[in-house]
């Protein structure tokens, strides 16, 4: 019994939870769960996107005028930063699949650093807006607005990029957790589900930014 490559042996895998019959079942369940979670995230942001669309329709001039205060260069730079971080995340997952622990750790560190760069650039953008008084709603105190109602644009700018920023922070925590487990040596070719799932989440965070960038920075 012991020398045959019996499929029953995987019952002893330490990562297999008691209520699953085999690892593949556990992986599939985890992936279904993650995809459903991503759907809820899309719907959560969807509410803000719809709100933005409707308010943009009601106040087109104010939105067009207000968006000139955003720095397109920094926005584009951040887009590139996140795209590259998505690439490093893909490489991290590939490294995990191949069981290359050193590579996995390096790519995770790279992704984490790029996320940090994104937040740093966002910090400079935010502090400029805050300094000028271009704050959401009731806090808005900018005096030189060309069209009345520009505050509404900044309401959405801060709500949407703020919620996205929170997701970046959550992503960094998740990547940090996976990194710690990678250093500890939890992952192998046979078990790398957490890397996979965090990767999926990180791509979603990137994708939301891909939509936010033209919506907020490139109104024509």
């Amino acid at each position: 019994m012991s020398h045959s490559a019996a499929p029953t042996e995987h019952v002893h895998e330490p990562f297999l939870q008691h209520h699953f019959a085999e690892p593949a079942q556990q992986v599939d369940a985890a992936k279904i769960g993650m995809w459903l979670f991503l759907v809820t995230e899309v719907l959560l942001f969807g509410g803000l996107f719809v709100g933005y669309g409707i308010m943009h329709g009601k106040h087109p001039e104010a939105f067009a005028s207000a968006h000139h205060h955003l720095d397109r260069t920094l926005g584009a730079l951040n887009t590139i930063v996140l795209l590259v971080s998505s690439f490093t995340m893909v490489m991290a997952v590939a490294a995990a699949q191949a069981g290359k622990r050193r590579h996995l750790i390096n790519y995770l560190i790279a992704t984490l650093s790029l996320a940090g760069v994104f937040l740093l650039i966002k910090y400079f953008e935010y502090s400029h807006k805050i300094h000028e008084g271009m704050l959401p709603g009731g806090l808005y105190s900018y005096k030189g607005e060309a069209v009345p109602g520009e505050f509404m644009f900044f309401s959405f700018y801060f709500m949407m990029t703020g919620l996205h920023g929170l997701h970046v922070v959550a992503g960094m925590i998740a990547i940090g957790w996976v990194l710690r487990r990678a250093v500890r040596g939890d992952f192998s070719e046979r078990y790398f589900t957490p890397v996979d799932l965090v990767g999926l989440y990180w791509h979603l965070v990137d994708m939301i930014w891909i939509y936010l960038f033209p919506l907020l920075y490139l109104i024509s």
Binding site: H18, H19, A21, A29, T40, L43, G51, M152, S155
Partner: protein, 544 residues
């Protein structure tokens, strides 16, 4: 397992056999449990507590309406009482009631699994529920909320009552609901016992699965909407407040985009229970299995397309109103398909009027009234007259209380022996059910009449001509409350007895009846083997 049916109850000895209730002891073993059965039981006591609290507010509201002017409380207190009644009943009782409490317990058992796919997420969902409930409690303690459970803007963004606390509570409860939904979908997809194909699943699973899909797809939109109310209140961002250039009707669209599907989050699990109870107590194979299964999914799908019927008088376009009205009629088709199939199942069956079946039949009667009056309200010309009257209140309660709560009671009585290993008193259950039926109809039939005569909902004072019907309705609410207290009494009394429930007290054919009552921690001694479909009753069992 047939011999279990006839075996005499083995009392004393069974108390020492390990089961999920007694294997581990102490409060910590409950608070840290990952067992779906224990989480289901914790949910059950929590939602019942919420039901009691929401019920007390309902009694206060009904008492206040006994006379046309002030009866027991001020107008402000009245506004807060009906708001909290609605918010507690919806967010803390009905939405988690069947899926998270009963569903958590029986869903893995019904598909022969050891647990749900993500046990830790399951426990997290319970703690989020508790956190959300604490927020709701805090909003009550610090002054209450007077917006109605719908939180309509711009009033909700300008009133000084504790709207932010209650909406944050509902936001957190939303995530609790999403976690449960994600868990159940993954569980149904991956943890069915070998051989249980989709069309061999018990119908309860179909109903809960359709519910879970709505929970996952609709709740995030409510989440962001409630968050936007809080942000609007704190930072005056302007999205919903017309004074700032915002759009209050946008809030209604957002709110009903969730809250209409949410009505099906509440009713589909009720229908799911009825689909189990009726075949078991008719000893007959379910009629139209596929029709019932697919109609659950159809209801879930259509539910996303009808939110505008709450807004016929809000100024949305005539075209939108006509389309929403038509789509609303469509919901009646899958609902009626279910009702006719249940009736056909009972036809020439060997009907056993035990408590769960009494409630199931009560469900059929009350849901038929609730559903048909929904058609009245979906008709534009009629709705313009009945909008925001007691007719809407009565319709809603016939579906939600006459439908979901009665189905919840059916399920509670059906699975109580499985959950706690004890039989309750059938001779107490019957008069209690009668009181509930009579009290419920007294309370809410009167409100149909009130509404059709023009009594607006949520009003504190009313014209003297409405008083007789209001008095009738209030007396009905006392009868109803008495019946519910009787149920609580005999159910709790059963817990003082030693275990006396056989594994299969009703002669059910689904998998949960093949394991002990109460089940062992791992649910089944060994992975169950499917030998027959969920409702395969032989002709002998029909007893003809």
């Amino acid at each position: 397992m047939a011999d279990v049916l006839t075996a005499p109850p083995e009392t004393g000895r069974r108390h020492f056999e390990p089961n999920y209730l007694n294997e581990r002891r102490g409060i910590l073993s409950w608070l840290t449990t990952l067992d779906h059965k224990r989480i289901g039981v914790m949910y059950l006591w929590s939602v019942l507590l919420a039901f009691l609290l929401g019920g007390i507010f309902a009694m206060v509201v009904r008492m206040e309406l006994l006379t046309p002017k002030e009866t027991i409380i001020s107008a402000d207190a009245y506004n807060k009482a009906f708001t909290l009644h609605g918010a507690i009943m919806i967010f803390l009782f009905i939405i988690p009631g069947i899926p998270a409490a009963l569903g958590n317990f029986v869903l893995p058992l019904l598909i022969g699994a050891k647990d749900v796919a993500f046990p830790r997420l399951n426990l997290a969902s319970y703690y989020l529920y508790v956190a959300g409930a604490l927020f709701a409690l805090a909003s009550m303690i610090f002054g209450g909320v007077d917006t109605g459970w719908t939180f309509y803007t711009p009033y909700s963004t300008t009133t000084t009552t504790k709207v932010s606390l209650l909406t944050l509570g509902a936001f957190i409860l939303g995530f609790s609901s999403i976690f449960t939904g994600v868990n159940f979908i993954a569980t149904v997809h991956k943890l069915r016992v070998p051989g249980m194909t989709w069309l061999k699943m018990p119908l309860f699973i179909w109903g809960i699965y359709a519910t879970a899909i709505i929970q996952v797809l609709a709740t995030p939109v409510l989440g962001i909407t409630l968050l936007l109310i809080v942000i609007e209140r704190v930072w005056k961002v302007g999205i919903f407040d017309p004074a700032l250039g915002g759009d209050p009707v946008l809030f209604q669209h957002f709110f009903w985009f969730y809250s209409h599907p949410a009505v099906y989050i509440m009713i589909l699990p009720g229908m799911a229970i009825i689909s189990e109870v009726i075949p078991t107590f008719s000893k007959k194979t379910i009629f139209g299995y596929k029709a019932i299964a697919y109609s659950s999914v159809a209801i879930a799908f259509i539910s996303f397309l009808v939110w505008g019927h709450h807004m016929f008088t809000s100024g949305q376009s005539d075209l939108a109103t006509a389309v929403f009205s038509f789509l609303t009629f469509l919901v009646a088709i899958p609902s009626a398909i279910k009702v006719f199939n249940w009736l056909a199942t009972m036809y020439r069956g060997s009907i056993d009027l035990k408590a769960p079946m009494i409630y199931a039949i009560m469900f059929l009667l009350l849901f038929a009234i609730g559903g048909l009056t929904g058609i009245f309200l979906g008709t534009i010309s009629v709705d313009v007259h009945l909008h925001d009257t007691y007719f809407v209140v009565a319709h809603f309660h016939y579906v939600m209380m006459g439908g979901t709560v009665i189905a919840f009671l059916a399920g509670l009585h059906y699975w109580w022996p499985k959950m706690f290993g004890r039989m309750y008193s059938e001779s107490w259950a019957r008069p209690a059910a009668l009181l509930i039926f009579v009290g419920f109809n007294m309370t809410f039939l009167a409100q149909f009449v009130l509404g059709s005569r023009g009594m607006p909902r949520r009003y504190y004072n009313y014209l003297e001509q409405f008083q007789p019907l209001h008095v009738f309705s209030t007396i009905g609410s006392w009868v109803l409350a008495l019946g519910l207290f009787m149920v609580a009494g005999y159910l709790l009394a059963s817990l003082r007895k030693p275990y006396d429930a056989p594994a299969n007290p009703w002669g059910g054919k689904t998998l949960e009846w093949t394991t002990a009552s109460p089940p062992i921690t791992h649910n089944f001694e060994r992975t169950p083997v499917l030998t027959h479909g969920p409702y395969d009753y032989s002709p002998q069992e029909i007893g003809r």
